[in-house]
Symmetry: C2
Subunit: 449 residues, 2 copies
């Protein structure tokens, strides 16, 4: 600090604009004592002020918040503590697992989901005969179906993601309760090499082999919602098929488009054919050079595919097209109803549909499944604006929930509202409403045909 | 700003320490021009500095962050945008609902869940006879049970809360799939006056009346986890009872303790008696003066109860004690197994139990349900340290999940790890494992007796 009282900051930080001291020197005389004391005081004040400025600038870095409200500080602390705790409890103390080591498969190695099983049809048939208390059909000769879905074991990058995973699970619980379908919600990676979208393959195989009583395994993505609570898959139609998947034959056969089929919602029969398909499909999946190479192959082969590692959908389309004679006679490419319904064209139509139609059609009149491809509420980077996705998912959830609440005499106030209102008065004869409104009643089923 | 160059801040905010200007006056002479310019410069510099200080202080309020990293900014933006969107999409455009107006019930009004139904037993019996395709029992003469749980429709205050709600639902899905129990996961407030812990009452009544085929409704809190995947409730034991609740008779009858019973996990038979019980229980619940007054009454009556509004558990204990002759012959206070197991004494024992016992006991050897009372992962203010709660919930979840994954030949690497490892090699004879490890196989059931 110069003796002439010019202002020179005591400390500088990188974000503070530096004040330029314009120096003027005194002529050399000793100033009077009183003025010296005054100048000293001034200097001290300026020093204190500069020091204070420094603290203010640094507080963002050191986390000292002087003016936040009590609850903001509590929330922030809670978030930070939660993250710290989770990181700690999730740290893997045993990074190597001799039973399932991480490795990059080389291109000349063939990955296998497990040891080859070739007698599944006969083995399973014998087991069913020996275990009549576990039939492969449920009441009224409906085949026994198991719905498989799942999400990663860790919390979502985006906090709201877990909330929508929860809502999506509730949505699946509701549909499956109404239709006698069992649910497995998987939150474990059975095979490190087939993580991400490939994780469904080892899980499907594992469930087939562990649940011989299950006739169909139905994979559904965690970002797909049931939006027709009445519609039922017409299993009779598929008695000669082993795979049912939504898609478009012209996109598939003619254009070889990478989105010709959608693996967000599809069914596989529990049989040898499916084991063989999985065995053929999985080897394109192991992460590392194999998945990268496979990605290049499928990008080259399929129309419109961007360049990235192989995903399960592209790999399936590729394999079915290149080996169509082997597989396609047992694959039903279905689009007479929305086994998978791409959300963008559907979510804004719900009010119109409610005015004109009723649940049960499963098609564009009342979409069976609305699938939020590209929204990725669990991650940080979606293909669509966050607002649009959240709004649309909320609408789809409530559109479906209305159909469930209808039995109870309630409905959402609007498709964006979590609040509900009565749609029917209470009655002392509630069983009349059960007969009229329970989706499982056969009269409603007939209505949907 | 004084002419003597003393420092006076241009602006003051409440959190800035005020600098006290010590005034000294000059003798009155006009200072030389050069010194005047110098003083003016000093004043300008001080003004700029003070202005800058003000901006720094205000930036926390106006959200201008000068030094955050790119990804922090992205995350922060995402969180803020998410919250904004949610607030917007949740804003209720119809604040008044003539069918269910918000009102504070006065103390002389009696709240009712609905119109009084008095012939439920006969009506339901007739309905069951007329609808043999909806029997009140499932295979092997097990009664049809519906598990009811739920959580509020909005995202949790604490982000990690939704993740644990998701895990808790998966846990319930697993148990119920293994035991043929239907699930309803409620995310709607059917009655604004009975929100919070009271919300289960209108939902239980609604489900009873809408699902006459259901024999037992089993309420379970969202913070309760199944930790014995083999144990089954011994329904035969309760053929003469209409309510099964975990508790301690001495705490109940002798001490009148407010924690003598636990409404976190209990069963109600679908019958007239239960409708009557709910009709007697609910009037203590409506929020406002009634719930406040009821809170005072139960605090006075029950031992150890803190002073707060009436909760459903205290109200139930109060009503059962004050009307014990009317109700208690049909209430089974159960503690031979952990229909509700208070977590603090259980979660640290899991490894010991795994070493000594096996699933199926349901009691202290292998607790049926571990209930995280007081952890409140969805809210901001828990009764226990966050770290302890999250760690313990993770352990309980994995302890239970191991029992499910066992059929598939996998298990968690440790009770704190989301990662899994193989516990059995793959085999070409998977059906042998099904016979040995499927919890639904009768041999395992016998083992648990």
């Amino acid at each position: 600090m110069g003796q002439d009282g010019n202002l020179t900051p005591q400390k500088r930080t990188s974000s503070l604009p530096t004040t330029v001291a314009n120096g003027r020197h005194s002529s050399g005389r000793n100033p009077p004592r009183g003025r010296q004391i005054q100048k000293t005081f001034n200097n001290i004040k300026i020093t204190l002020l500069c020091g204070f400025v420094t603290i203010l600038v640094l507080r963002g870095t050191i986390g000292v918040n002087l003016s936040s409200s009590g609850s903001d500080a509590v929330n922030q602390n809670l978030i930070e503590e939660t993250n710290r705790i989770l990181a700690e409890i999730r740290s893997d103390s045993d990074p190597t697992d001799p039973a399932n080591p991480e490795r990059d498969l080389f291109l000349n190695e063939t990955y296998a989901l497990g040891p080859r099983i070739s007698s599944w049809d006969t083995d399973r048939k014998a087991w069913l005969e020996n275990n009549p208390e576990f039939p492969n059909f449920v009441s009224r000769n409906k085949p026994r179906v198991l719905l498989l879905s799942g999400s990663p074991p860790n919390p979502c990058d985006n906090a709201i993601g877990d909330h929508y995973l929860l809502k999506a699970v509730k949505n699946k619980i509701d549909y499956c309760r109404l239709h006698g379908i069992e649910i497995v919600y998987n939150m474990a990676h059975l095979d490190r090499e087939l993580a991400g979208y490939w994780a469904k393959l080892p899980m499907i195989r594992r469930l087939m082999l562990s649940h011989p009583e299950v006739e169909w395994i139905w994979w559904m993505d965690s970002d797909a919602l049931f939006t027709d609570m009445v519609f039922e898959i017409p299993f009779d139609k598929y008695k000669d098929y082993n795979m049912v998947i939504h898609g478009y034959p012209d996109l598939f056969y003619d254009q070889k488009s990478w989105i010709a089929l959608n693996t967000g919602s599809f069914l596989l029969r529990n049989c040898q054919w499916t084991l063989d398909l999985l065995d053929t499909w999985a080897p394109m999946g192991p992460k590392g050079p194999i998945r990268e190479e496979a990605g290049k192959v499928v990008t080259k082969f399929l129309k419109g595919r961007p360049d990235f590692e192989a995903d399960d959908q592209s790999a399936l389309i590729y394999l079915l097209l290149t080996q169509k004679d082997k597989w396609m006679n047992k694959v039903q490419i279905e689009n007479s109803y929305y086994l998978h319904g791409f959300w963008t064209g559907l979510v804004d139509t719900y009010e119109d549909l409610m005015a004109k139609y009723h649940p049960g059609y499963g098609d564009q009149r009342w979409p069976f499944v609305t699938h939020f491809v590209g929204c990725k509420p669990c991650g940080s980077y979606a293909d669509y604006p966050v607002e649009r996705c959240l709004r649309s998912m909320e609408r789809a959830f409530n559109f479906a929930d209305n159909q469930v609440l209808n039995l109870y005499g309630f409905g959402h106030r609007g498709l964006l509202s979590p609040k509900i209102k009565r749609t029917r008065n209470e009655t002392v004869r509630p069983l009349e409403n059960v007969d009229k409104f329970d989706i499982r009643r056969s009269s409603l089923h007939e209505k949907s045909r």
